[in-house]
């Protein structure tokens, strides 16, 4: 029996055709994965099914009946539930309160908390999703929070469960647990739609896999009859080698020198404690660490967003006394931000406007404060070609580009500014394989050009593959310094969790 069927779904955004005549049919009780690069149209399709977007054209059938889903309420009524990437939970509420919110059991006018707890407990046992109903959501780990989300939609009677990149926020163990839960749900007869761009996971969990590329359905394959390499080829349209080519570092003089840097975080607590390190030209220095161990503070200090409590920063041998973004930029630093939408680009600005941010005051883009549009357009057109940013239209607004293309736009911009030091803060966050490969290639090119690169990343494979030297950040301190050939992911993992420490001597 078909649980969900979509026929010829088209979704046209201004400038972007996000879904191009997509037809899928999903059987009841299967785990159906939808994979594709960022911007391939997976999320758009799911948002259409969940009623967050209305399709430009196309039909949806749920359990054989043609339906019109215009709001999430419609979707819930049709027993479709969605676990979003960002959880919609209230941190101050308990697990139970969060689950029953909007449909609370009550006795007369009074909220019957005891019955609610009992209901949640039963639900949690029935589906094998262990939670403590009385815990405050703020105090439980992300993996459990996700379970709360799942329970919430199960309680509303969901038969079709959509998971939007559910593993993006989970640790490997939590991912294992999630997969166990998904299999259990499948055994209960629920239908699961699993969106991801991590092929390994998809191969572990899915029964059938649909591949999207640039809004078009490339095909639906059964897990047994395919492999990761084939999927990757379908996804990006060519063979992808995620091997990072090793280039010997030609280490030159120091381009960035940080001494005894102490920085407060947003809440006024010291988040980075007396950190010292150097980056030389022609090398990539990787900073490994679990998120929230001082990376944000380090970045904010290096780009001049927060004034350090103490310590000094030298760029290209000169100490920067007044740490403002403008000063640091003009002294040879460029920055690839961790949050492109927030720090990288101005969403309503056109590509041609975005691509000159930071060099807009320089000749030939402007003279005496007046912009030179023909020069800007010429430059933008050239960069779109050079960095393969699609669509090749300099008038598209930044917000209408896909994530990968936004990142390419940022790379194109930052790398065209004259610089000696590149700060790459999680440059591949949320990117698909194709775009990741592109970023890696560009970082290695930078290194070959003799630029000093500081790479801050949460992905160990990235750190191991790209870095010439690795620093491990734990609890605001550098707890180890090593090189990729002297260590392995396990040892790094121990250091990242603060279980192993290395004495280091700064020359």
């Amino acid at each position: 029996m078909k649980a969900l069927e979509v026929k010829n779904i088209v979704k046209q955004f201004p400038n972007v055709l996000a879904n191009d005549h997509i037809s899928l049919s999903i059987e009841k009780g299967e785990i159906f994965a939808v994979v594709g690069e960022n911007g391939a149209g997976k999320s758009t399709l799911m948002k259409i099914i969940y009623g967050l977007y209305t399709p430009t054209s196309g039909e949806i059938y749920v359990f054989g009946k043609k339906v019109k889903i215009e709001t999430p309420e419609d979707a819930i009524r049709l027993k479709i539930g969605m676990v979003h990437q960002e959880f919609m939970l209230i941190p101050r509420f308990t697990v139970t309160e969060n689950i029953v919110l909007g449909d609370e059991p009550h006795r007369g006018m009074i909220f019957d908390y005891k019955r609610a707890v009992k209901e949640v407990r039963e639900l949690s046992e029935r589906f094998g999703l262990k939670v403590d109903p009385t815990d405050k959501v703020a105090n439980i780990p992300v993996g459990i929070q996700q379970r709360v989300e799942i329970l919430k939609i199960l309680r509303r009677g969901a038969e079709i469960l959509i998971f939007d990149e559910p593993t993006a926020v989970l640790t490997p163990e939590e991912t294992e647990d999630l997969f166990k839960a998904l299999r259990r749900l499948k055994a209960e007869g629920k239908t699961i739609i699993f969106i991801s761009h991590k092929l390994k996971e998809v191969m572990t969990i899915a029964d059938r896999i649909a591949v999207l590329r640039r809004g078009k359905l490339q095909g639906v394959v059964e897990k047994e009859k395919t492999n990761e390499v084939e999927l990757a080829r379908m996804m990006v349209g060519r063979n992808v080698v995620l091997e990072i080519p090793h280039v010997e570092a030609k280490i030159g003089k120091t381009v960035l020198s940080v001494r005894d840097l102490t920085v407060k975080n947003k809440r006024g607590i010291i988040g980075l404690k007396g950190v010292s390190f150097d980056v030389h030209s022609g090398e990539i220095v990787g900073i490994a660490g679990v998120e929230g161990n001082g990376q944000a503070e380090l970045v904010n200090a290096l780009i001049g967003f927060t004034r350090p409590v103490k310590g000094k920063i030298e760029l290209d041998g000169k100490e920067i006394k007044l740490l403002t973004p403008y000063n640091l930029r003009t002294k040879g630093m460029v920055y690839i931000p961790e949050d492109r939408k927030r720090r990288g680009i101005v969403l309503p600005f056109r590509v041609r406007e975005n691509i000159i941010m930071g060099q807009h005051t320089l000749y030939p883009f402007s003279k005496n404060g007046i912009l030179n549009d023909s020069e800007i357009n010429k430059f933008a057109t050239k960069k779109l070609e050079e960095f393969d940013i699609r669509p090749r239209n300099i008038h598209v607004r930044g917000g209408n580009l896909s994530g990968g293309n936004q990142q390419k736009l940022i790379l194109a911009r930052e790398m065209s500014i004259e610089h000696k030091f590149l700060l790459a803060s999680q440059p591949t966050r949320g990117l698909d394989i194709g775009a990741m490969e592109f970023v890696y290639k560009k970082l290695v090119e930078e290194k070959k050009k003799g630029i000093g690169v500081l790479l801050i990343s949460l992905e160990l494979s990235e750190i191991m593959g790209l870095s010439d030297r690795i620093l491990v950040l734990y609890n605001g301190e550098i707890v180890g310094e090593t090189t990729p050939d002297k260590t392995n992911e396990e040892e790094l993992g121990l250091m990242m969790l603060g279980l192993k420490r290395q004495e280091r001597v700064l020359q």
């Binding site: 055709l17 640039r214 101005v346 941010m357």
Partner: protein, 384 residues
């Protein structure tokens, strides 16, 4: 050469697919407001057709009897609305909700008055005298506006709070002290309020037989300059980037090296200076002195104008003409036994529909895409 000049003055053409929606939104809002206004009139038993005939017949917007007079009056008030409307819009582009135009307008007025009658200037040729007046008006209005920007940057005080307070400070400082104190006219002359400005400080008339003066020409130039500043300069580029990233704490332009604090103060200076021009116009072109009690309200009307004009310089100019026309025609509607405050109701409803503009846009977009359904299919293989 001609092309180069054209490019420098107008900039490149950027094709926006549904650009006409932006134009239609205010027009539809105005039409809807007129319809609702008509219903109100009808409900009170009067004839909306007669009322609108009188209103627009004397508004100066449409040719008719005594058109020259109405036209002149309409443009006279237009120039003041443009000043306060642009003031709001410039700051809005930078992400500031700057409602200090009222205070800046008064500061501009009192500054123009003082330099208009003060002795050392009073005997200069008109051109030089006016130039000096306007320089001081711009400086004083700018400083008054920039106080809000400074407070926001240095002390984190929200501009809405500081500008409202600055408005009242301006009112009391001027009306309760300057006008009845240091700047009071000599009692023997029998004038209440400040002395009249000298003849050399009066704005030259450009339409014979009416009050229409050069203020409208100045505002045409200023409107163009503001457009140029916003879209053709790095300054405008930076402040638009700031406005667009307001919800993200302006981090993108900040990371790009834009000095947010400096720009914020500069923008409020500019907003204050432009609004102050309006105050100078009313003193130098209509009142010729600062009266004991100033009508006021132009500052807040500027917000209306900016909203209808969608914060775009040209839109603000057209919206100002519309509001100016309504005000000019207001007196005539009394002939249809309708109070002369009725046009204000139309203004209010227009703003209400502007507030609903997302809905209007949604309808228009739906209409536009319905028409182009076949087009989407042909375009099918478009890139992402």
């Amino acid at each position: 050469m001609k092309n180069v000049l054209k490019r420098i003055i107008f900039g490149p053409k950027e094709k926006e697919k549904y650009w006409w929606i932006n134009v239609l939104v205010p027009i539809i809002a105005i039409l809807l407001a007129l319809v609702v206004g008509a219903i109100f009139i009808k409900l009170t038993g009067r004839s909306p057709i007669v009322a609108y005939k009188l209103l627009f017949g004397t508004s100066g917007l449409l040719p008719g009897p005594y058109w020259k007079d109405h036209f002149a009056e309409m443009l006279l008030s237009t120039s003041m609305f443009v000043a306060t409307g642009l003031s709001f819009a410039i700051a809005a582009k930078a992400g500031l909700f700057f409602i200090g135009a009222e205070g800046d307008f008064l500061v501009g007025g009192i500054t123009a008055t003082y330099f208009g009658y003060a002795k050392p200037f009073a005997n200069m040729p008109t051109f030089i005298h006016l130039t000096i007046i306007f320089i001081f008006v711009i400086i004083m209005g700018g400083i008054w506006g920039a106080i809000a920007g400074y407070l926001k940057v240095k002390k984190g005080i929200h501009e809405v709070i500081s500008t409202i307070m600055l408005n009242w400070i301006a009112v009391y400082l001027i009306e309760d002290w300057l006008v009845i104190g240091p700047m009071k006219a000599n009692v023997k002359t029998g004038i209440s309020g400040t002395p009249y400005v000298s003849n050399t400080a009066r704005l030259p008339i450009i339409l014979h037989g009416t009050r229409l003066n050069i203020s409208i020409i100045i505002m045409i130039i200023v409107t163009y300059l503001i457009w140029f500043l916003l879209y053709r300069t790095t300054f405008g580029y930076e402040i638009r980037a700031m406005g667009y990233t307001l919800i993200y704490g302006m981090e993108a332009p900040k990371a790009g090296g834009v000095d947010i604090d400096k720009r914020m103060i500069q923008v409020t200076f500019l907003a204050g200076a432009v609004a102050a021009l309006g105050g100078a116009f009313i003193v130098l072109g209509i009142l010729f002195q600062y009266p004991p009690v100033f009508g006021g309200g132009y500052g807040f009307d500027g917000i209306t104008v900016a909203l209808i004009g969608q914060n775009e310089p040209l839109g603000i100019f057209l919206a100002s003409m519309f509001i100016g026309g309504l005000r000019t025609g207001a007196a005539a509607v009394q002939l249809a036994h309708i109070p002369k405050t009725f046009p204000s109701i139309i203004e209010g409803i227009t703003v209400a529909f502007i507030a609903l503009q997302e809905l209007i846009r949604y309808w228009l977009m739906k209409a536009a895409t319905a028409k182009k359904k076949s087009y989407v299919k042909i375009q099918g293989g478009a890139d992402e």
